[in-house]
């Protein structure tokens, strides 16, 4: 019974924890501008993150080594260092975006400028990382994140033409007002939002710390293969809601309030209340995860003690990195930079950094010395190779597309 509860809890928190500020913003933007015509990309991204997370979780369980540990081991110190710099930078960017996202969500309730809220959010994130019983926080935030299910309910209540939505999804086409470059740019952004590298750092490092073994593979797989796709359904619902409500109004989503607008249309005040709780939980949970991931990558490269369960005095350098990262994030946001813009950049650069960690994990997941009978099957490798190619294409295309389309404004 306890085990069933554990698995159910894992799945529920995986659903609630799947969506972060990147998914919220990009899915709403794409839904409003492109309808569901990029829905297939979201599905491709969700399958990708399932594949990646399952491999890294399996590697963590079988070898006892976390992602960035293996990056240095398999790529050497030199390439590993370049990798570290790139991954750390992207992680920090995502961390800034998540803290900004929490501030924006709180702003929706308090109407106080987000710049004033940011320092308190930073302090709270740091306090959680420093003091909290992290498992409790993780579960509470994951469960509260389930409030975002209201997007799925709202979509049903709005009663769209389902055949329209599905036919948009099934065909590779775009609205006549948009060009193919912008279409490609948002495809890369959606892919980056679904497959953010920090999710994997966090997932595999957690596995190492909880000392997963072969016996935990079943639980890990149920979290990944049930939790993540259901989380992905939330992403698709956000896009579909935006397509139904914001699309006809030609709204260009540039604020978090616009992301929640369809729910307000469907359910009024109550809807808004639920959606804001969901926003805060999702972004706050992701802020903790990205902050930790920034620490994980640096500590694992240099061999320092790390861990969310280890007391700060036993992992002093790791916690020093967390403090510095939080200070940098707060400082950047205090300049008044638009968190939505930071989010857009972070998902695109996530796509750029993705191959750097995906490739070493794909290789180690095949090393029978580490993995024994749990090495990748030929089916996993078939999909693993397809995704390797996809991920490299997205990474190479991301920055040129960003420039050509002026961050999606149109070329």
């Amino acid at each position: 019974m306890k085990k069933v509860f554990g698995i159910a809890l894992g799945i529920l928190t995986a659903i609630g924890g799947f969506v972060d500020i990147g998914d919220l913003v990009v899915n709403a933007q794409v839904g409003a501008r492109f309808g569901m015509s990029l829905g297939l990309v979201v599905i491709v991204g969700i399958i990708g993150i399932c594949l990646f997370a399952e491999m890294s979780g399996r590697v963590a369980a079988c070898s006892g080594r976390a992602t960035f540990d293996l990056v240095r081991e398999r790529l050497g110190p030199r390439v590993g260092l370049m990798n570290l710099i790139a991954s750390f930078a992207v992680n920090l960017l995502t961390f800034i975006a998540e803290i900004g996202g929490v501030a924006l969500a709180v702003m929706l309730v308090t109407s106080v400028s987000e710049v004033l809220i940011v320092p308190f959010v930073g302090l709270l994130v740091w306090a959680v990382l420093w003091r909290a019983r992290f498992t409790v926080m993780e579960n509470v935030l994951g469960l509260l994140g389930l409030c975002l299910v209201i997007f799925t309910v709202a979509l049903w209540k709005l009663g769209p033409s389902w055949s329209d939505l599905t036919s948009q999804m099934a065909t590779v086409d775009k609205p006549a007002s948009e060009d193919w470059w912008t279409y490609a740019y948002f495809a890369v952004a959606l892919f980056g939002a679904a497959m953010t590298p920090y999710e994997v750092f966090f997932f595999s490092s957690g596995g190492v710390e909880e000392k997963w073994t072969d016996k935990d593979l079943g639980t890990m797989r149920s979290n990944v293969f049930i939790g993540f796709p259901l989380g992905g359904v939330l992403s698709l619902s956000i896009a579909a809601c935006a397509a139904v409500v914001l699309g006809p109004l030609k709204v260009d989503v540039a604020a978090l309030s616009q992301v929640g607008l369809p729910v307000a249309v469907a359910f009024g005040k109550i809807g808004i209340a639920v959606v804001i709780v969901g926003f805060v939980a999702a972004t706050f949970g992701a802020a903790c995860e990205t902050g930790l991931s920034a620490g994980y990558s640096l500590a694992q490269y240099f061999g320092w003690q790390w861990g969310k369960f280890v007391r700060p005095r036993k992992a002093a350098k790791f916690h020093a990195v967390l403090i510095l990262a939080t200070l940098v994030a707060v400082a950047v946001l205090m300049t008044g930079v638009d968190p939505i813009m930071v989010t857009e950049l972070s998902v695109v650069f996530s796509a750029v950094a993705l191959p750097l960690t995906y490739f070493p994990i794909l290789v180690v997941a095949n090393d029978r010395e580490y993995m024994g009978q749990h090495a990748n099957s030929s089916v996993t490798n078939f999909f693993g190779t397809i995704y390797l190619v996809l991920i490299v294409i997205a990474a190479v295309a991301a920055i040129p597309l960003l420039i050509i389309t002026h961050m999606g404004a149109g070329s």
Partner: protein, 234 residues
């Protein structure tokens, strides 16, 4: 703990593939550092053996080689010109190592563990594995089989007098991917990556250390009197 056995009990291990850049854990499983480089002792008969683990920026930056490594090392020194032993790495003796597996586990606690690398004993000279890896290999009759990619070691001696003797050098063209292990390990695929790495390293072979006539540590090259043997894996 993990399915990788203790390589100290195996016949051989490869320094770069199995030991360098691994996490070092203390008796309690707390993390200490990574294996940044390995101390290589050369006795009067020019026998080479790994005698200790080197740790810290003074060991890591030179391994990055090239402009980046130089720049990082010089900056590191400049940030502490007043320290006499800034360029001397910290050290863990092999006698403290319990197990070399997916990680390196020690027999002691981490508090106060790392001290600076001791001076070489009389008659011995200290080098680093990081210096040997990357060295240009000159074969007989102007043959150029490539560079040293890895160093094969054989554990010898009791725990207190443990040494990892250099038995072979893995030599091949300097191309990416040798640390991935496809040339020596037991892999399931993926087919595409496997084929590409195998093809890039098709000229890689083993050079017994007895076939090395001279090592020029200054000019970073060594002379061999024989051709490469085929590479054997796990």
């Amino acid at each position: 703990m993990t399915r990788v056995g203790n390589r100290l009990e195996a016949r051989w291990l490869d320094a770069a593939l199995h030991l360098l850049d691994r996490q070092v854990l203390d008796r309690e499983g707390l993390m200490i550092c990574n294996v940044d480089d390995l101390e290589l002792a050369e006795d009067t008969d020019h026998h080479l053996a790994v005698t200790g683990i080197l740790v810290g920026p003074a060991a890591l930056w030179p391994r990055l080689s090239g402009t980046l490594g130089d720049a990082l090392r010089r900056t590191w020194l400049r940030l502490g010109v007043q320290y006499a032993d800034r360029d001397v790495p910290a050290y863990i003796g092999l006698d403290l190592v319990d197990e070399i597996g997916a990680a390196v586990t020690l027999t002691v606690d981490r508090e106060g563990l790392l001290d600076k690398q001791p001076d070489a004993e009389t008659g011995e000279e200290h080098h680093r594995v990081g210096q040997l890896v990357g060295m240009d290999v000159r074969g007989p009759d102007g043959d150029r089989p490539g560079r040293v990619l890895d160093v094969r070691l054989a554990p010898k001696g009791s725990r207190t007098a443990r040494r990892l003797e250099v038995t072979h050098l893995v030599v091949g063209r300097s191309r990416p991917g040798t640390l991935l292990g496809y040339d020596r390990g037991d892999f399931n695929g993926p087919w595409l990556v496997h084929r590409i790495v195998k093809r890039l390293h098709r000229h890689t072979g083993l050079l017994p250390i007895t076939g090395v006539t001279t090592i020029d540590w200054e000019d970073q090259h060594l002379d061999a009197d024989r051709a490469l043997e085929p590479l054997t894996g796990v």
